[in-house]
């Protein structure tokens, strides 16, 4: 009667194997073998320092030479316009680019997992500010310097990374549901009961909320007043999930106004002929416009550091034009600055990084309080 005990024994063995394979804690940072990481970092750092120290034509020539010698580049990104950027880059330089694209959370998780395991999967990263700040805090990046960084809008010169484009949260509307002349002029207008059931808020836009909330406090409103304002807007609102769905439903007329659409979502739809806009028939758009930078960074452990730097240079020069064609707001203001003469407020990234829970909870509370009013 040997075998009856075999199954539990096998299970126990497998469990034991898994447990030992996973070590003590799957969430702890890998402590062993930091040598590999140091060696990789030292090699990349030499290249970074050399290029950061050069300027003008000399910098560009050396960089192209080194990058083409490396011949390849691995990018992790959540940038939706990466395909056209890479296409232009590959047509210009003899470098093969491989792209991993996910949402900003999966990009962050992937880099965290890989770095902890000393697996250096990418050279370059392009994602949202919040995630970049977290990775910078973990010490994954090497600073990028040069004239191009100096030219970037001041909100975009972050520690450890550099903005390449901005997401602008604007108030958009359906032009058949909101007639010219009737458009909301201020955020406060959206709390007017005449918009009941016409407004839409997005369930995950905590950063937009935190930006606007802080702005109103700075304008002299009290906490209670700001909360009351948002609650009344929420009471007028239908809650949507995801900017794409929300944008498509705005075009379709499911609601008349969105409080936190991306400007490029609205512009792109309008370009296709959808009856949507964020610019009123007369006067300026609803302000302040909350902006959140998206940026690029060099990985400390890059295996193709020169190619990574060359890509940043590309994204901040030719790339800016490609981004503008996709209705994106670039980080280096060109001849036509879409934000000229507008009140623009950045998302309070450091505050969100320090107290993420507080803002998540507050926004959720406001949304549900508003819905209870209905």
């Amino acid at each position: 009667m040997r075998h009856p005990s075999i199954l539990p024994a096998v299970t126990a063995m497998v469990t034991a194997l898994v447990l030992t394979a996973c070590g003590a804690s799957p969430t702890a940072t890998g402590t062993t073998d930091t040598n590999a990481k140091d060696a990789a970092a030292a090699k990349a750092q030499a290249v970074y320092d050399r290029i950061n120290g050069l300027t003008g034509e000399e910098r560009h020539k050396t960089l192209v030479e080194l990058a083409e010698k490396e011949g390849k580049l691995s990018i992790y990104t959540s940038n939706t316009d990466m395909d056209s950027l890479v296409e232009g880059f590959e047509n210009t330089y003899k470098i093969d680019v491989s792209v991993y694209r996910g949402n900003s959370e999966s990009v962050l998780q992937r880099v965290l997992q890989e770095q902890q395991a000393n697996y250096f999967g990418n050279d370059f990263i392009d994602t949202n500010a919040g995630e970049l700040n977290i990775m910078n805090k973990e010490g994954f990046f090497y600073p990028y310097q040069g004239e191009l960084r100096e030219a970037v809008r001041k909100e975009g010169k972050a520690e450890g990374w550099t903005a390449s484009r901005f997401n602008a949260f604007v108030v958009g509307w359906n032009t058949t549901k909101v007639k010219p002349g009737e458009e909301p002029k201020t955020i406060e207008d959206l709390a007017d009961p005449k918009w009941k059931g016409q407004v839409s808020m997005e369930v995950g836009d905590v950063d937009w909320f935190a930006g606007l909330y802080t702005y109103f406090l700075q304008q002299g409103k009290s906490e209670a007043e700001v909360r009351d304002l948002f609650t009344r807007i929420a009471a007028n609102s239908k809650i949507a999930k995801g900017h794409t769905t929300q944008g498509e439903l705005l075009s379709a007329g499911q609601f008349g106004i969105t409080v936190s659409s991306y400007s490029h979502t609205v512009d792109k739809a309008a370009d296709k002929g959808a009856p949507v806009s964020w610019h009123p028939a007369s006067g300026g758009p609803v302000q302040p416009i909350i902006v959140r930078p998206n940026g690029v960074a060099l990985m400390k452990t890059a295996t193709s550091p020169a190619a990574a730097m060359l890509f940043i240079d590309w994204e901040l020069t030719e790339g800016q034009k490609i981004l503008a064609e996709a209705f994106r707001v670039g980080s280096i203001p060109g001849a036509t600055d879409p934000f000229a003469d507008l009140t623009v407020v950045p998302v309070p990234e450091q505050e969100l990084l320090a107290n993420p829970k507080k803002w998540d909870d507050l926004y959720a509370q406001i949304l549900s309080a508003g819905q209870e009013v209905q």
Partner: protein, 576 residues
Amino acid sequence: MSTASPVVTANRSAPLTPRRRWWPTPKLIIIIAVAGAIGYLALVPLYYLLWGTFFDASGFTLGGFATAYGDSRIGSLIGNSLWFAAGSAVLSLVVGTSLAYLNVRTDVPFKALFFAASIIPLIIPGILYTISWIFLASPDIGLINKALEPVFGPAAVDIFTIWGMIWVEGLHLSPIVFLLMVAAFRSMDPSLEESALMCGASRLQVFRKITVPLTRPAIVAAVLVMAVRSLESFEVPALLGLQNGIYVFTSRIYFVLRSYPPDLAAAGALALGLLVLAVLGVAISNLVGRAGKSFQTVTGKGFRPRPMELGKWRPVMGAAIVCYFLLTVAAPLVVLLYTSLLKFYQAPSMAALRSMSLDNYVELLGLSQAATALRNSLFLGVATATLVMAVMAIAAWITVRSRIPGRQLIDQFAFVPLVIPGLVLGLALSFVYLRSPIPIYGTIFILLIAYVTRYMPYGMRYSVTSMQQIATELEESAQVSGASWWQTFRRVLLPLLAPGLLAGWIYILVVSFRELSSSILLYSPGNEVLSILIFEQYENGQFTVLAALGVVMVLTLVVLVTVAYKLGAKVGLREN
């Protein structure tokens, strides 16, 4: 080792130590391999989940439970979740079972429509299916409401209610039940029903007293899977529930995982709640299925499933099916097709018709990774479905047939992945394979491992249900006639299990095309799959391109599934 030798050993030593006869036969090796594989696949993410739930930087903690269940709205959260899950499970059960019964057991017309009606809702990605329903039944812009307005006034139906959520989710889930029940009905001897009819029972009585009790294992399995699935469903609650503040569990899991650092503890605590429900469910399903020989309808006595004549009800049923088909399959599909031809969604009008073009399909063709993604998804779908069903057929034998102590554990383990959030599975796998000496990370095989893990529970339900219908006497006679275990399994059990295995295979093939939450973390450049492409188009705001992609997916999978069905006819899924 040759296959003949164990038989010889068996014959000689059987009277003395009957159990020794399969040591060290291929049987034991296979059983250990299967048990080991299931244990390994289930335990890796479970361990990761448990660790994340109970331990933080400072040691043991129950903080995750406080965050997860300490919400002031937890009462309404649980209420909504249970109501939504129960409603969807019941709806999908009624719809799936009725369709399966009519299809297999009666001479109902339009059987080809059935096939489409039963599979297409499964193929359409959840987000597209749900948004199609917004375009159909929103009180503001719904086409159905516009059509009903002259008669019933404005906003006759409202999709943004718990009933709307149940409707969409129930219909979206009904194919799982349909496939499960078709297999069950095919393996049922109709002579039992015929005898009851001869004795004067009405059709309803026969259905209630004979048909339902005989297929109880399949029904229990369906309820179990449906309930867990709807508790976990994300798209429907997010797109339909949030608008009017109907929150369910998954909205909650989404929020705790979205913030940084992702609150694995709270997500784990919520998943463990589901796990407790699932473990109870599997135990109940096995108790029910184990109740002696009562469900074993595939016996030594031959039978030929013969369709029941509906008589005067035939045209009525035909009409009902056409209506059902138009409402649940054709309508959302037409909306999808219509949207895929537009530049942006707008209600049908002359202007809209004039603006129609194939631009979205052209754009789809221009996508650099479209071909790679289709190829990878096909490979992963076929490989996952085949591997899962092969392994689960043996696992089902272990749980249902063998007397090995601890066999129930296999069933429980195989069910565990159903409650593990996709992101946690992705994190667990990347954690293990980033440290594995075998280079799996960054290849397509890590996706294969993820998919096999995720779809193991479904494969197990399909196999166990079929196994419970097969009488032990068939195996016993094979063995008495001198067949080895492996011969018996291959020559007797596999052909009899085929309808259930094929149904499971089709299901897994279809759903693996949609897997996103773990794929997105684990794929690498060159290993893109279709769901990643869908996600990218969605993120990019290309809703109409997404609709085009949905249409292409439906066409591809309908062709694939039709081929599988035709091939399946040879192994017994279809009787004609």
